[in-house]
């Protein structure tokens, strides 16, 4: 007789106001398997997992854990039912030790000492069993991102989780760290744990899962055995139509040097040097891709070139020197000089989420003559221009009066992209162009970037997605710890070599 499923969902429905986030979702996950859930942004993956972890209550439907119907009104109940969750953004107390974080919320008495002693023993066992060595006395803030993630997993295991849900776990990891994570997950699976992996990376689904479910617009459209599918097939199921996974582009025809950066250095507020002497050039009609694990200085580089952060060194744009600190080094001056910037974090920088789409179209360009008359804004001109941009960039819904926060991630990115590309820059800075963007829009955004290149513009691309770097760039520079580790041509390198360089190793001798 087969055992009951570890998790069974029966006809789960959840709506937020008029939006139905989960429609009639049924799912069975067998114990001791790794089950992947993929879907575009806004497909309802996170809502479904939040229901399972007790953050939301389903409007209707049943949850069965190990064959028994279970009510999960809050996360305490989820933990009791043996469910552990590792969030995309870790929920750790930065200045607590590993041990304290693991125990937090699971203290079994009024006094901390005996709990900590027991936890230390337990943690050592877990670390031994699952190849998860973490110093129990290290402070979280001193740990690498990969180690922090291990602490999150240990936290769940300490609470005796039998079902582990991981939400986009590899977004912040180097390829090597991701491999280690997968080894850990395989070990857990061998122990009989059930794992649900939410990701948008098809490669990971293919590599590690046993079964995979596809979600589209709040519905669970397919559940298939991973062995019986392919990345192309899954992508089509996710989007509901044929998609291009590789970027279709002609060879670059680079022209004269547009951007030249020499010995660029940035020191942050804590006195830490974030950029330690960056040298690079970008030519017209060329995409220079910067690869690297998040936090190795790529953001600082974009900020300096975009006029958000002061630096020392020398930067020339079309042979004219740019000032790097003081007046004339702000974002306004950069835009006048011909640099436009699609920032890495469109929510924090690129958009004012409460502003309407038409107000966001003028953002950063509020003093252009076409958008204002003297001291007054020309709101009508802005609205008309937004309307036209939305048509050209296929922004949906096509409504200039809708607030930016009400668009999906992909459409928000299109609003920013339309603004920055149509400002006709000599140099476009673009960070994480497709982060949190669905597959259909990724294709569109990549095409626009290549079109801009073919129009003879220089493009500096920063992305933590190696796939994206490899398929878009004409040249690749790898950053590690504030330095450029080296440059490679996309045809003459591979993920392994770039991954090593991203981890600070020199890579193969070129």
């Amino acid at each position: 007789m087969t055992p009951p499923p570890a998790i069974e969902l029966r006809r789960i429905c959840k709506s937020f106001g008029p939006v139905q986030a989960n429609k009639d979702i049924s799912l069975k996950v067998m114990p001791g398997t790794i089950h992947g859930i993929i879907g575009e942004n806004g497909a309802g993956k996170s809502t479904l997992m939040s229901i399972l972890y007790g953050f939301y209550k389903a409007d209707s439907g049943e949850i069965l854990i190990g064959g028994r119907e279970t009510q999960i009104p809050d996360s305490q109940a989820a933990i009791k039912a043996g469910i552990g969750m590792v969030f995309q953004h870790f929920k750790l107390v930065e200045n607590f030790s590993v041990l304290e974080n693991v125990v937090l919320g699971a203290e079994d008495g009024s006094f901390l000492r005996p709990t900590l002693a027991r936890a230390r023993k337990h943690l050592t066992d877990l670390a031994r069993d699952y190849e998860m060595n973490v110093d129990p006395d290290a402070k979280i803030e001193d740990l690498s991102v990969g180690h922090q993630q291990r602490v999150e997993i240990l936290k769940a295991l300490y609470r005796e989780a039998n079902i582990l849900i991981l939400d986009e776990p590899t977004g912040v990891l180097t390829p090597a760290e991701a491999d280690h994570l997968f080894r850990i997950l395989r070990g857990l699976k061998a122990e009989g744990k059930t794992i649900i992996l939410i990701t948008h990376k098809l490669r990971e689904i293919m590599e590690i899962t046993d079964t995979v479910s596809v979600m589209r617009r709040g519905e669970m459209t397919d559940t298939v055995k991973t062995a019986e599918t392919s990345p192309q097939d899954l992508a089509e199921r996710m989007v509901g139509r044929k998609v291009l996974l590789r970027v279709d582009k002609a060879p670059a025809r680079p022209g004269k040097t547009v951007l030249e950066v020499k010995d660029l250095r940035v020191t942050d507020g804590q006195g830490v040097e974030r950029l330690r002497g960056i040298d690079l050039t970008v030519r017209a009609g060329e995409i220079l891709g910067i690869a690297g694990v998040a936090g190795n200085g790529q953001s600082d580089l974009l900020d300096v070139l975009g006029g958000i952060r002061a630096a020392t060194g020398a930067v020339t744009l079309n042979d004219a020197a740019l000032s790097l600190s003081g007046p004339g080094s702000d974002a306004r001056a950069r835009r006048r000089a011909g640099i436009t910037h699609v920032p890495e974090d469109r929510h924090r920088l690129g958009l004012i989420l409460d502003f309407k789409a038409w107000e966001n179209t003028g953002f950063g360009y509020q003093d252009l003559p076409k958008y204002c008359q003297g001291l007054m804004m020309d709101n009508r001109a802005l609205r008309e221009d937004t309307d036209a941009k939305m048509a050209r960039f296929d922004v949906r819904p096509h409504d200039p009066n809708l607030a930016a926060k009400n668009f999906s991630g992909g459409n928000q990115q299109k609003i920013v992209l339309a603004r920055e590309i149509e400002a006709d820059p000599d140099l476009l800075l673009i960070g994480q162009p497709t982060r949190g963007v669905d597959i259909g829009a990724i294709e569109f955004i990549h095409q626009r970037i290549v079109e801009l290149r073919d129009a003879g513009k220089a493009i500096l691309l920063v992305s933590v997605e190696l796939d994206e770097i490899l398929s878009l760039s004409d040249r690749i520079a790898v950053m590690f710890d504030g330095r450029i580790m080296g440059e490679r041509l996309p045809g003459q390198t591979d993920e392994t070599e770039l991954g090593l360089m991203m981890a600070g190793m020199e890579g193969r001798a070129a």
Binding site: A333, I352, G364, L375
Partner: protein, 364 residues
């Protein structure tokens, strides 16, 4: 959670808050053995039952419009200016100096000069906290409130030692005849409309209405207003867009301080016609409640200011008509309204949002 529809946020919610405030006030009045309905009747009648009542209500409202707009403008840049009290006091000083410096022949010559005087002094008083915030990162709430105390001490010093007119009271000399502003009685009389002769409502009310319109244009129509709102929503994004935080903080606080300072043309020039120690009378703080209740929109500020004006005038009548309800009781009622419409806004908001959410579900 879906937000409230706009009309519920702007109209329904304040009305519910107000009703709750009156309900609790009614209980308090009941507790001291008076009839709450009778008290309500006296208040409404006193504030709006006669041209005299209206004359006082709108006079108080004029003060609250200026201080309310001051808070609202700063709020759009995410600056919480609670220094309206001090800025208005200094604005009164500026108005007084202008009125005393020149023997003005006509009020319509004195008024523009007094507007400049009040605005410049109010703005100057806001400039120091603004600069400390923009350059040194000092918290604007702390610095503006501290500047209220400094302003109060400064006014005492000036009125006791320098500006004091002969006599017992610490107040300046009366302003020259030519700087006296026409009252509602004078203006409406020109059109043959009778109005109470002694009510202090004067042409400064029209200046306040113009200020409402000006603030609306500023915030929603000008490039500066766009930049102020963008900065208020997100400072990092504003920097990304090339908007200078220092410039926005300084300019916004100068405008805010100037608006508070304009209160002087109503209270000092329009009514007292001399500079006194208690010219502001807490209007700076009422401005916070007015801006909160008016959702930082000039129209909302105007309506909320009239409500608070009525509350002030009605309170004075109540104190006079029903002796058992003392001055302190009036303060309690006013405080309850501020508490319910301002600080306890969220108490009603969340349940109301739930009601609307379930209504929506029922309709779907």
């Amino acid at each position: 959670m879906q937000k409230l529809p706009a009309w519920a946020d702007v109209v329904l919610l304040p009305l519910i808050n107000l009703a709750l405030a009156f309900l609790v006030s009614g209980l308090v009045i009941l507790y001291i053995g008076e009839n709450p309905l009778q008290a309500l009747k006296v208040m409404v009648n006193g504030a709006m039952g006669s041209t005299r009542g209206w004359g006082y209500t709108l006079f108080f409202a004029t003060n609250f419009i200026f201080t309310g707009l001051a808070v609202a403008v700063a709020y759009h840049a995410s600056l919480f200016n609670i220094g309206g009290e001090g800025q208005a006091a200094l604005g009164g000083l500026g108005v007084a100096l202008v009125c005393l410096a020149v023997d003005w022949p006509f009020w319509w010559m004195a008024l523009p000069a007094a507007i400049i005087g009040g605005a410049v002094f109010g703005a100057a008083w806001a400039a120091i906290p603004a600069w400390l915030n923009a350059r040194r990162g000092s918290h604007i709430v702390i610095t503006t409130i501290m500047f209220n105390f400094i302003a109060s001490a400064l006014m005492v010093y000036l009125l006791v030692n320098i500006l004091k007119a002969p006599g017992m009271a610490p107040e300046s000399a009366g302003f020259p005849e030519g700087s006296h502003l026409p009252t509602a009685y004078d203006v409406l009389g020109l059109f043959g409309i009778p109005f109470n002769r002694f009510a202090p409502l004067n042409v400064a009310f029209l200046v306040a209405l113009a200020a409402c319109w000006g603030v609306w244009i500023l915030i929603w129509r000008t490039r500066l207003g766009y930049e102020i709102r963008a900065f208020g929503k997100s400072e990092p994004a504003a920097v990304y867009a090339g908007i200078s935080p220092v410039r926005i903080i300084m300019v916004t606080m100068l405008i805010s301080g100037a608006l508070a300072g304009l209160m002087g043309i109503n209270a000092v020039m329009g009514e007292a016609e001399r500079l006194t120690l208690d010219a502001v009378q807490g209007a700076g703080f009422v401005g916070i409640a007015v801006a909160l209740m008016g959702r930082n929109h000039p129209v909302g500020v105007l309506l909320a200011a009239i409500l608070f004006g009525a509350l002030y005038q009605g309170g004075i009548e109540l104190e006079f008509e029903i002796p058992a309800i003392s001055r302190e009781m009036i303060l309690v009622i006013q405080a309850l309204v501020i508490l319910f419409t301002g600080a306890l806004d969220g108490m009603v908001r969340t349940p109301l949002e739930r009601v609307f959410a379930s209504l929506r579900k029922g309709a779907a």
